[in-house]
Protein backbone atom coordinates (compact mmCIF):
# COMPACT_ATOMS: atom_id res chain seq x y z
CA UNK A 1 0.00 0.00 0.00
CA UNK A 2 2.84 2.37 0.86
CA UNK A 3 6.12 1.96 -0.99
CA UNK A 4 9.07 4.13 -0.15
CA UNK A 5 12.04 4.15 -2.50
CA UNK A 6 15.39 5.77 -1.83
CA UNK A 7 13.88 8.50 0.34
CA UNK A 8 16.52 11.06 1.29
CA UNK A 9 16.18 14.24 3.31
CA UNK A 10 18.65 16.87 4.41
CA UNK A 11 18.13 19.52 7.05
CA UNK A 12 20.77 21.97 5.87
CA UNK A 13 23.89 19.86 5.51
CA UNK A 14 22.70 17.28 7.97
CA UNK A 15 21.58 14.04 6.36
CA UNK A 16 18.42 13.04 8.22
CA UNK A 17 17.12 10.27 5.98
CA UNK A 18 19.57 8.28 3.90
CA UNK A 19 18.08 6.30 0.98
CA UNK A 20 15.23 4.76 2.95
CA UNK A 21 13.42 1.81 1.38
CA UNK A 22 10.30 0.59 3.11
CA UNK A 23 7.02 -0.90 2.15
CA UNK A 24 3.88 -1.25 4.21
CA UNK A 25 1.13 -3.65 3.16
CA UNK A 26 -2.56 -2.96 3.62
CA UNK A 27 -3.75 -3.79 7.17
CA UNK A 28 -0.14 -3.89 8.32
CA UNK A 29 1.13 -2.08 11.40
CA UNK A 30 4.76 -1.00 11.22
CA UNK A 31 6.59 0.51 14.17
CA UNK A 32 9.63 2.74 13.74
CA UNK A 33 12.00 2.73 16.68
CA UNK A 34 15.43 4.22 17.23
CA UNK A 35 17.32 6.81 19.20
CA UNK A 36 16.28 10.48 19.17
CA UNK A 37 17.47 12.13 15.98
CA UNK A 38 17.57 8.91 14.01
CA UNK A 39 15.00 10.27 11.54
CA UNK A 40 11.87 8.37 12.60
CA UNK A 41 9.57 11.35 12.85
CA UNK A 42 10.92 12.92 9.67
CA UNK A 43 10.27 9.69 7.78
CA UNK A 44 6.74 9.63 9.14
CA UNK A 45 6.07 13.24 8.20
CA UNK A 46 7.33 12.61 4.66
CA UNK A 47 4.53 10.11 4.18
CA UNK A 48 1.87 12.83 4.34
CA UNK A 49 4.28 15.50 3.08
CA UNK A 50 4.32 17.68 6.13
CA UNK A 51 8.03 17.38 5.33
CA UNK A 52 9.09 17.45 1.68
CA UNK A 53 11.76 14.85 0.88
CA UNK A 54 14.78 15.90 -1.21
CA UNK A 55 15.19 12.68 -3.16
CA UNK A 56 13.32 9.45 -3.65
CA UNK A 57 9.74 8.48 -4.16
CA UNK A 58 6.77 7.46 -2.06
CA UNK A 59 3.88 5.63 -3.70
CA UNK A 60 0.45 5.21 -2.21
CA UNK A 61 -1.42 2.36 -3.93
CA UNK A 62 1.03 2.68 -6.78
CA UNK A 63 0.51 6.44 -7.23
CA UNK A 64 3.65 8.51 -6.67
CA UNK A 65 2.63 11.08 -4.07
CA UNK A 66 5.99 12.83 -3.89
CA UNK A 67 5.58 14.32 -7.36
CA UNK A 68 5.31 18.07 -7.23
CA UNK A 69 2.13 17.82 -9.30
CA UNK A 70 0.37 15.62 -6.74
CA UNK A 71 -2.14 17.59 -4.70
CA UNK A 72 -1.09 17.63 -1.07
CA UNK A 73 -4.59 18.37 0.13
CA UNK A 74 -5.98 15.16 -1.32
CA UNK A 75 -3.11 13.20 0.10
CA UNK A 76 -3.49 14.60 3.57
CA UNK A 77 -7.08 13.46 3.55
CA UNK A 78 -6.05 9.89 2.85
CA UNK A 79 -3.23 9.83 5.36
CA UNK A 80 -4.13 10.89 8.91
CA UNK A 81 -1.56 11.82 11.53
CA UNK A 82 -1.59 12.14 15.31
CA UNK A 83 1.13 14.16 17.01
CA UNK A 84 3.00 13.81 20.26
CA UNK A 85 1.63 17.11 21.56
CA UNK A 86 -1.98 16.40 20.39
CA UNK A 87 -2.17 19.78 18.61
CA UNK A 88 -5.91 20.07 19.10
CA UNK A 89 -7.24 23.51 18.28
CA UNK A 90 -7.67 25.16 21.69
CA UNK A 91 -10.35 27.60 20.54
CA UNK A 92 -12.69 24.86 19.35
CA UNK A 93 -14.75 22.31 21.22
CA UNK A 94 -13.93 18.65 20.86
CA UNK A 95 -16.80 18.29 18.43
CA UNK A 96 -15.63 21.23 16.28
CA UNK A 97 -12.09 19.87 16.27
CA UNK A 98 -13.35 16.59 14.88
CA UNK A 99 -15.86 17.96 12.38
CA UNK A 100 -13.61 20.69 10.94
CA UNK A 101 -12.00 18.54 8.25
CA UNK A 102 -15.14 16.63 7.25
CA UNK A 103 -17.03 19.90 6.88
CA UNK A 104 -14.38 22.04 5.20
CA UNK A 105 -12.41 19.46 3.23
CA UNK A 106 -15.03 16.87 2.38
CA UNK A 107 -17.89 19.36 2.30
CA UNK A 108 -20.06 17.18 4.49
CA UNK A 109 -23.03 19.07 5.94
CA UNK A 110 -22.87 20.09 9.55
CA UNK A 111 -25.54 17.74 10.87
CA UNK A 112 -24.06 14.70 9.20
CA UNK A 113 -20.50 15.52 10.28
CA UNK A 114 -21.74 16.02 13.80
CA UNK A 115 -23.60 12.76 13.83
CA UNK A 116 -20.57 10.85 12.58
CA UNK A 117 -18.28 12.56 15.06
CA UNK A 118 -20.55 11.71 17.98
CA UNK A 119 -20.69 8.13 16.78
CA UNK A 120 -16.90 7.89 16.75
CA UNK A 121 -16.56 9.59 20.11
CA UNK A 122 -19.02 7.07 21.53
CA UNK A 123 -16.90 4.29 20.13
CA UNK A 124 -14.00 5.53 22.27
CA UNK A 125 -16.19 6.27 25.28
CA UNK A 126 -15.70 10.01 24.87
CA UNK A 127 -19.13 11.25 23.83
CA UNK A 128 -19.67 13.17 27.04
CA UNK A 129 -16.71 15.42 26.19
CA UNK A 130 -18.13 16.58 22.85
CA UNK A 131 -18.86 20.07 24.15
CA UNK A 132 -15.66 20.40 26.19
CA UNK A 133 -12.62 22.44 25.18
CA UNK A 134 -9.29 20.62 24.86
CA UNK A 135 -7.70 22.32 27.84
CA UNK A 136 -10.44 20.94 30.09
CA UNK A 137 -9.37 17.38 29.27
CA UNK A 138 -6.53 15.23 30.53
CA UNK A 139 -3.62 14.45 28.24
CA UNK A 140 -4.90 10.96 27.54
CA UNK A 141 -8.36 12.27 26.70
CA UNK A 142 -6.92 14.95 24.43
CA UNK A 143 -4.84 12.38 22.62
CA UNK A 144 -7.87 10.16 22.10
CA UNK A 145 -9.73 13.14 20.66
CA UNK A 146 -6.75 13.75 18.37
CA UNK A 147 -7.01 10.14 17.17
CA UNK A 148 -10.72 10.57 16.49
CA UNK A 149 -10.00 13.81 14.65
CA UNK A 150 -7.43 12.08 12.45
CA UNK A 151 -9.89 9.26 11.75
CA UNK A 152 -12.82 11.54 10.96
CA UNK A 153 -11.66 11.93 7.37
CA UNK A 154 -11.72 8.12 7.01
CA UNK A 155 -8.04 7.91 6.03
CA UNK A 156 -6.50 4.79 4.47
CA UNK A 157 -3.38 5.13 6.58
CA UNK A 158 -2.88 6.48 10.08
CA UNK A 159 0.50 7.85 11.16
CA UNK A 160 1.22 8.07 14.88
CA UNK A 161 4.12 10.27 15.94
CA UNK A 162 5.16 9.33 19.49
CA UNK A 163 1.60 9.75 20.63
CA UNK A 164 2.23 8.52 24.17
CA UNK A 165 5.50 10.36 24.78
CA UNK A 166 3.87 13.39 26.42
CA UNK A 167 1.50 11.36 28.59
CA UNK A 168 1.76 10.40 32.23
CA UNK A 169 2.50 6.68 32.48
CA UNK A 170 -0.94 5.87 33.87
CA UNK A 171 -2.59 7.51 30.86
CA UNK A 172 -0.60 5.59 28.26
CA UNK A 173 -2.81 2.54 28.62
CA UNK A 174 -6.05 4.23 27.56
CA UNK A 175 -4.47 5.50 24.36
CA UNK A 176 -2.87 2.14 23.62
CA UNK A 177 -6.24 0.45 23.99
CA UNK A 178 -7.66 2.75 21.34
CA UNK A 179 -4.82 1.96 18.94
CA UNK A 180 -5.15 -1.76 19.57
CA UNK A 181 -8.83 -1.47 18.64
CA UNK A 182 -7.88 0.23 15.38
CA UNK A 183 -5.44 -2.56 14.56
CA UNK A 184 -8.17 -5.11 15.07
CA UNK A 185 -10.32 -3.24 12.59
CA UNK A 186 -7.54 -3.64 10.06
CA UNK A 187 -6.36 -0.03 9.81
CA UNK A 188 -2.94 0.39 8.19
CA UNK A 189 -0.67 2.25 10.60
CA UNK A 190 2.88 3.51 10.77
CA UNK A 191 3.87 4.22 14.34
CA UNK A 192 6.88 6.06 15.72
CA UNK A 193 7.34 5.17 19.36
CA UNK A 194 9.73 5.08 22.28
CA UNK A 195 7.38 2.71 24.05
CA UNK A 196 8.88 -0.71 23.32
CA UNK A 197 5.92 -2.47 24.87
CA UNK A 198 3.75 -0.68 22.34
CA UNK A 199 5.94 -1.88 19.47
CA UNK A 200 6.16 -5.46 20.71
CA UNK A 201 2.46 -5.64 21.34
CA UNK A 202 1.03 -4.03 18.22
CA UNK A 203 3.50 -4.19 15.40
CA UNK A 204 3.55 -6.67 12.58
CA UNK A 205 7.00 -5.40 11.79
CA UNK A 206 9.47 -3.25 13.67
CA UNK A 207 12.04 -1.11 11.88
CA UNK A 208 15.08 0.06 13.78
CA UNK A 209 16.39 3.36 12.43
CA UNK A 210 19.95 4.39 13.00
CA UNK A 211 21.40 7.60 11.62
CA UNK A 212 18.81 7.99 8.91
CA UNK A 213 18.99 4.39 7.71
CA UNK A 214 16.83 1.39 8.43
CA UNK A 215 19.35 -0.84 10.15
CA UNK A 216 16.99 -3.69 10.81
CA UNK A 217 13.47 -4.59 9.73
CA UNK A 218 11.92 -7.66 11.35
CA UNK A 219 8.85 -8.97 13.19
CA UNK A 220 8.88 -7.82 16.82
CA UNK A 221 9.62 -11.21 18.32
CA UNK A 222 12.72 -11.48 16.20
CA UNK A 223 13.88 -7.89 16.54
CA UNK A 224 13.51 -7.81 20.30
CA UNK A 225 14.52 -11.47 20.80
CA UNK A 226 17.42 -12.01 18.46
CA UNK A 227 18.48 -8.71 16.96
CA UNK A 228 21.04 -9.14 14.21
CA UNK A 229 22.47 -5.70 13.69
CA UNK A 230 25.07 -4.62 16.26
CA UNK A 231 23.49 -1.16 16.52
CA UNK A 232 20.11 -2.71 17.31
CA UNK A 233 21.70 -4.90 19.98
CA UNK A 234 23.41 -1.84 21.44
CA UNK A 235 20.17 0.19 21.43
CA UNK A 236 18.14 -2.57 23.08
CA UNK A 237 20.90 -3.21 25.62
CA UNK A 238 20.84 0.46 26.61
CA UNK A 239 17.07 0.34 27.05
CA UNK A 240 17.44 -2.83 29.09
CA UNK A 241 20.06 -1.17 31.30
CA UNK A 242 17.78 1.83 31.70
CA UNK A 243 14.99 -0.47 32.84
CA UNK A 244 12.79 0.48 29.93
CA UNK A 245 12.46 -2.89 28.29
Amino acid sequence: MIEIDGLTKYFGDHLVLDRINLSVARHEVVCLIGASGSGKSTLLRCINRLVEPDWGEIRLDGVPITDASFGKTGLQRRVGIVFQSYNLFPHMTVLDNITLAPRKVQRMNRAKAREKALEMLALFGMERFAKAYPEQLSGGQQQRVAVVRALAGAPDVLLLDEITAALDPELVGEVMTVIRGLKEQGLTMVIVTHEMGFARDLADRVCFLDDGRIAEDAPPAQLFGTPEHPRTQQFLQRLLDGGRL
Binding site: T73, N87, P90, K104, V105, A150
Partner: protein, 284 residues
Protein backbone atom coordinates in the same frame (compact mmCIF):
# COMPACT_ATOMS: atom_id res chain seq x y z
CA UNK B 1 15.37 10.03 66.68
CA UNK B 2 12.20 10.51 64.67
CA UNK B 3 9.21 11.44 66.86
CA UNK B 4 6.18 9.20 66.76
CA UNK B 5 3.65 10.66 64.24
CA UNK B 6 0.28 11.59 65.77
CA UNK B 7 -2.54 9.08 65.34
CA UNK B 8 -4.84 11.55 63.62
CA UNK B 9 -3.89 14.50 61.38
CA UNK B 10 -3.53 17.76 63.30
CA UNK B 11 -6.54 20.12 63.09
CA UNK B 12 -6.51 22.87 60.47
CA UNK B 13 -4.99 26.14 61.69
CA UNK B 14 -7.52 28.37 63.45
CA UNK B 15 -8.81 31.04 61.19
CA UNK B 16 -8.37 34.55 62.39
CA UNK B 17 -11.50 36.66 62.67
CA UNK B 18 -11.75 39.98 60.87
CA UNK B 19 -9.19 42.32 62.34
CA UNK B 20 -10.07 46.01 62.14
CA UNK B 21 -6.57 46.96 63.00
CA UNK B 22 -4.80 45.19 60.12
CA UNK B 23 -7.60 46.04 57.73
CA UNK B 24 -7.81 49.75 58.42
CA UNK B 25 -4.44 51.09 59.49
CA UNK B 26 -2.61 50.75 56.14
CA UNK B 27 -5.56 52.30 54.35
CA UNK B 28 -5.66 55.22 56.76
CA UNK B 29 -1.94 55.82 56.40
CA UNK B 30 -2.25 55.81 52.60
CA UNK B 31 -5.15 58.25 52.73
CA UNK B 32 -3.34 60.59 55.09
CA UNK B 33 -0.21 60.47 52.97
CA UNK B 34 -2.15 61.20 49.79
CA UNK B 35 -4.00 64.13 51.39
CA UNK B 36 -0.74 65.55 52.70
CA UNK B 37 1.22 65.34 49.43
CA UNK B 38 -1.58 66.54 47.20
CA UNK B 39 -2.57 69.21 49.73
CA UNK B 40 0.95 70.66 49.73
CA UNK B 41 1.11 70.58 45.93
CA UNK B 42 -2.32 72.23 45.68
CA UNK B 43 -1.38 74.87 48.21
CA UNK B 44 1.80 75.63 46.26
CA UNK B 45 -0.14 76.04 43.04
CA UNK B 46 -2.90 78.14 44.56
CA UNK B 47 -0.45 80.45 46.30
CA UNK B 48 1.67 80.95 43.23
CA UNK B 49 1.47 84.57 42.17
CA UNK B 50 0.68 83.51 38.58
CA UNK B 51 -2.19 81.24 39.54
CA UNK B 52 -5.02 83.79 39.17
CA UNK B 53 -3.88 84.54 35.63
CA UNK B 54 -3.63 80.85 34.78
CA UNK B 55 -7.09 80.32 36.22
CA UNK B 56 -8.48 83.16 34.18
CA UNK B 57 -6.91 81.94 30.95
CA UNK B 58 -7.46 78.18 31.24
CA UNK B 59 -10.13 77.44 33.82
CA UNK B 60 -12.55 80.28 33.27
CA UNK B 61 -15.94 78.73 33.95
CA UNK B 62 -17.90 81.32 31.96
CA UNK B 63 -15.78 80.77 28.88
CA UNK B 64 -15.94 77.02 29.38
CA UNK B 65 -19.72 77.08 29.40
CA UNK B 66 -19.83 79.38 26.41
CA UNK B 67 -17.48 77.19 24.38
CA UNK B 68 -18.92 73.85 25.45
CA UNK B 69 -21.71 73.44 22.83
CA UNK B 70 -19.44 73.88 19.82
CA UNK B 71 -16.60 71.84 21.31
CA UNK B 72 -19.00 69.01 22.13
CA UNK B 73 -20.36 69.20 18.59
CA UNK B 74 -16.79 68.96 17.32
CA UNK B 75 -16.12 66.05 19.61
CA UNK B 76 -19.00 64.15 18.04
CA UNK B 77 -17.02 64.32 14.79
CA UNK B 78 -13.96 62.93 16.59
CA UNK B 79 -16.02 60.02 17.83
CA UNK B 80 -17.49 59.31 14.38
CA UNK B 81 -14.11 59.40 12.67
CA UNK B 82 -12.68 57.26 15.45
CA UNK B 83 -15.33 54.57 15.08
CA UNK B 84 -15.16 54.42 11.30
CA UNK B 85 -11.34 54.50 11.26
CA UNK B 86 -11.16 51.83 13.95
CA UNK B 87 -13.25 49.39 11.95
CA UNK B 88 -11.47 50.19 8.67
CA UNK B 89 -8.04 49.79 10.26
CA UNK B 90 -9.04 46.53 11.92
CA UNK B 91 -10.17 44.98 8.65
CA UNK B 92 -7.53 46.41 6.34
CA UNK B 93 -4.62 45.60 8.65
CA UNK B 94 -5.91 42.07 9.12
CA UNK B 95 -5.95 41.56 5.39
CA UNK B 96 -2.38 42.86 5.15
CA UNK B 97 -1.22 40.63 7.99
CA UNK B 98 -2.82 37.54 6.48
CA UNK B 99 -1.21 38.23 3.11
CA UNK B 100 2.13 38.76 4.77
CA UNK B 101 1.83 35.47 6.64
CA UNK B 102 0.81 33.33 3.68
CA UNK B 103 3.46 30.86 2.68
CA UNK B 104 4.22 29.54 -0.74
CA UNK B 105 6.20 31.10 -3.61
CA UNK B 106 3.15 32.37 -5.49
CA UNK B 107 2.38 34.81 -2.72
CA UNK B 108 5.87 36.37 -2.87
CA UNK B 109 4.91 39.56 -4.76
CA UNK B 110 2.02 40.19 -2.38
CA UNK B 111 4.19 39.61 0.65
CA UNK B 112 6.71 42.08 -0.78
CA UNK B 113 3.97 44.64 -1.34
CA UNK B 114 2.90 44.40 2.27
CA UNK B 115 6.49 44.75 3.48
CA UNK B 116 6.93 47.88 1.37
CA UNK B 117 3.60 49.24 2.58
CA UNK B 118 4.60 48.81 6.19
CA UNK B 119 8.03 50.36 5.66
CA UNK B 120 6.46 53.32 3.93
CA UNK B 121 3.56 54.13 6.21
CA UNK B 122 5.28 53.29 9.46
CA UNK B 123 8.17 55.49 8.43
CA UNK B 124 6.10 58.60 7.73
CA UNK B 125 4.63 60.91 10.37
CA UNK B 126 0.85 60.56 10.52
CA UNK B 127 0.61 64.37 10.50
CA UNK B 128 2.42 64.56 7.16
CA UNK B 129 0.10 61.95 5.65
CA UNK B 130 -2.97 63.75 6.94
CA UNK B 131 -1.84 67.02 5.35
CA UNK B 132 -0.72 65.34 2.14
CA UNK B 133 -3.99 63.47 1.62
CA UNK B 134 -6.36 65.93 3.27
CA UNK B 135 -5.22 68.93 1.24
CA UNK B 136 -3.51 67.23 -1.68
CA UNK B 137 -6.10 64.90 -3.08
CA UNK B 138 -9.11 67.26 -2.97
CA UNK B 139 -6.86 69.78 -4.77
CA UNK B 140 -6.47 67.37 -7.69
CA UNK B 141 -10.19 67.66 -8.37
CA UNK B 142 -10.32 64.19 -9.90
CA UNK B 143 -13.92 63.54 -10.88
CA UNK B 144 -15.49 60.59 -9.08
CA UNK B 145 -13.27 60.85 -6.02
CA UNK B 146 -14.67 62.37 -2.86
CA UNK B 147 -13.16 65.80 -2.29
CA UNK B 148 -13.81 66.24 1.39
CA UNK B 149 -10.79 66.82 3.61
CA UNK B 150 -12.49 64.82 6.32
CA UNK B 151 -12.62 61.73 4.10
CA UNK B 152 -9.02 61.94 2.90
CA UNK B 153 -7.67 62.88 6.32
CA UNK B 154 -9.41 59.85 7.77
CA UNK B 155 -8.08 57.79 4.89
CA UNK B 156 -4.53 58.88 5.77
CA UNK B 157 -5.08 57.87 9.39
CA UNK B 158 -6.21 54.44 8.25
CA UNK B 159 -3.15 54.02 6.03
CA UNK B 160 -0.79 55.04 8.78
CA UNK B 161 -2.34 53.08 11.63
CA UNK B 162 -2.82 49.95 9.54
CA UNK B 163 0.93 49.60 9.19
CA UNK B 164 1.28 49.33 12.97
CA UNK B 165 -1.78 47.18 13.49
CA UNK B 166 -0.66 44.82 10.72
CA UNK B 167 2.57 44.19 12.62
CA UNK B 168 0.60 43.52 15.80
CA UNK B 169 -1.59 40.99 14.03
CA UNK B 170 1.46 39.38 12.52
CA UNK B 171 3.17 38.96 15.87
CA UNK B 172 0.00 37.24 17.03
CA UNK B 173 0.00 34.95 14.01
CA UNK B 174 3.66 34.09 14.52
CA UNK B 175 3.01 33.31 18.16
CA UNK B 176 0.62 30.49 17.31
CA UNK B 177 2.50 27.25 17.78
CA UNK B 178 3.89 25.63 14.65
CA UNK B 179 2.17 22.37 15.62
CA UNK B 180 -1.21 24.01 15.10
CA UNK B 181 -0.32 24.79 11.52
CA UNK B 182 1.02 21.27 10.97
CA UNK B 183 -2.13 19.74 12.47
CA UNK B 184 -4.39 21.87 10.31
CA UNK B 185 -2.44 21.06 7.16
CA UNK B 186 -2.45 17.38 8.06
CA UNK B 187 -6.25 17.48 8.08
CA UNK B 188 -6.14 18.48 4.42
CA UNK B 189 -7.14 22.13 4.88
CA UNK B 190 -5.91 24.59 2.27
CA UNK B 191 -3.57 27.45 3.13
CA UNK B 192 -6.51 29.86 3.47
CA UNK B 193 -8.56 27.47 5.55
CA UNK B 194 -5.63 26.85 7.87
CA UNK B 195 -5.38 30.58 8.38
CA UNK B 196 -9.06 31.24 8.88
CA UNK B 197 -10.08 28.29 11.04
CA UNK B 198 -6.92 27.38 12.94
CA UNK B 199 -4.47 30.29 13.11
CA UNK B 200 -6.42 33.56 13.11
CA UNK B 201 -8.83 32.85 15.98
CA UNK B 202 -5.86 32.07 18.22
CA UNK B 203 -3.80 34.98 16.90
CA UNK B 204 -6.58 37.50 17.57
CA UNK B 205 -6.95 36.26 21.10
CA UNK B 206 -3.19 36.73 21.55
CA UNK B 207 -3.14 40.34 20.41
CA UNK B 208 -6.38 41.70 21.85
CA UNK B 209 -4.64 43.66 24.63
CA UNK B 210 -2.21 45.30 22.19
CA UNK B 211 -5.07 46.19 19.87
CA UNK B 212 -6.92 47.86 22.72
CA UNK B 213 -3.94 50.13 23.27
CA UNK B 214 -3.99 51.15 19.62
CA UNK B 215 -7.71 51.91 19.89
CA UNK B 216 -6.99 54.30 22.76
CA UNK B 217 -4.14 55.98 20.86
CA UNK B 218 -6.31 56.37 17.78
CA UNK B 219 -9.03 58.04 19.81
CA UNK B 220 -6.68 60.92 20.56
CA UNK B 221 -4.87 61.05 17.23
CA UNK B 222 -8.08 61.73 15.35
CA UNK B 223 -7.43 65.32 16.54
CA UNK B 224 -4.68 65.48 13.88
CA UNK B 225 -7.47 66.07 11.39
CA UNK B 226 -7.97 69.54 12.90
CA UNK B 227 -4.90 70.77 10.99
CA UNK B 228 -6.64 70.26 7.65
CA UNK B 229 -9.66 72.24 8.77
CA UNK B 230 -11.90 69.45 9.96
CA UNK B 231 -14.03 71.05 12.65
CA UNK B 232 -13.38 68.52 15.37
CA UNK B 233 -13.22 69.33 19.08
CA UNK B 234 -9.70 70.76 18.91
CA UNK B 235 -10.48 72.90 15.88
CA UNK B 236 -13.68 74.24 17.39
CA UNK B 237 -11.84 75.08 20.59
CA UNK B 238 -9.16 76.89 18.61
CA UNK B 239 -11.77 78.88 16.76
CA UNK B 240 -13.26 79.95 20.07
CA UNK B 241 -9.83 80.88 21.37
CA UNK B 242 -9.11 82.95 18.29
CA UNK B 243 -12.17 85.08 18.97
CA UNK B 244 -11.81 85.51 22.73
CA UNK B 245 -8.09 85.08 23.53
CA UNK B 246 -9.12 82.66 26.21
CA UNK B 247 -7.89 79.08 26.33
CA UNK B 248 -10.60 77.55 28.50
CA UNK B 249 -12.23 76.08 25.39
CA UNK B 250 -9.16 73.91 24.83
CA UNK B 251 -9.43 72.67 28.40
CA UNK B 252 -13.02 71.68 27.64
CA UNK B 253 -11.76 69.68 24.67
CA UNK B 254 -9.06 68.14 26.86
CA UNK B 255 -11.65 67.09 29.43
CA UNK B 256 -13.77 65.47 26.72
CA UNK B 257 -10.79 63.47 25.47
CA UNK B 258 -10.00 62.29 28.98
CA UNK B 259 -13.61 61.36 29.52
CA UNK B 260 -13.43 59.14 26.45
CA UNK B 261 -9.93 57.68 26.73
CA UNK B 262 -9.73 56.87 30.42
CA UNK B 263 -12.60 54.35 30.36
CA UNK B 264 -11.07 52.83 27.21
CA UNK B 265 -7.70 52.53 28.91
CA UNK B 266 -9.35 50.89 31.94
CA UNK B 267 -11.11 48.49 29.60
CA UNK B 268 -7.79 47.69 27.92
CA UNK B 269 -6.20 47.01 31.32
CA UNK B 270 -9.09 44.80 32.30
CA UNK B 271 -8.87 42.77 29.10
CA UNK B 272 -5.12 42.37 29.52
CA UNK B 273 -5.56 41.21 33.07
CA UNK B 274 -8.30 38.77 32.20
CA UNK B 275 -6.21 37.42 29.34
CA UNK B 276 -3.24 36.94 31.64
CA UNK B 277 -5.36 35.13 34.19
CA UNK B 278 -6.67 32.84 31.48
CA UNK B 279 -3.18 32.02 30.23
CA UNK B 280 -1.90 31.26 33.70
CA UNK B 281 -4.86 29.01 34.26
CA UNK B 282 -4.04 27.14 31.07
CA UNK B 283 -0.37 26.84 31.99
CA UNK B 284 -1.33 25.40 35.37
Amino acid sequence: MIPEPPKTPPPPPRRRGFDWHTALVPGLISAASIILVFGVLGWMVANNQNWPRIQLQFFNVEHMIAAAPRVVRGFAINMQVWLIAMVSIGVWALLLAVIRSLRGPWFAPFRLMVVLYIDLFRGLPALLLVILFGFGIPALRIPGLPNSGLFWGGFAMVLSYSAYVCEIYRSGIDAVHEGQRAAAHALGLTEWQVMIYAILPQALRNVLPSLMNIVVALQKDVALLSVIGVRDAVREAQIYTAGTFNYSSLVVAALLFLLATIPMARLADWITKRDRARRLQVAG
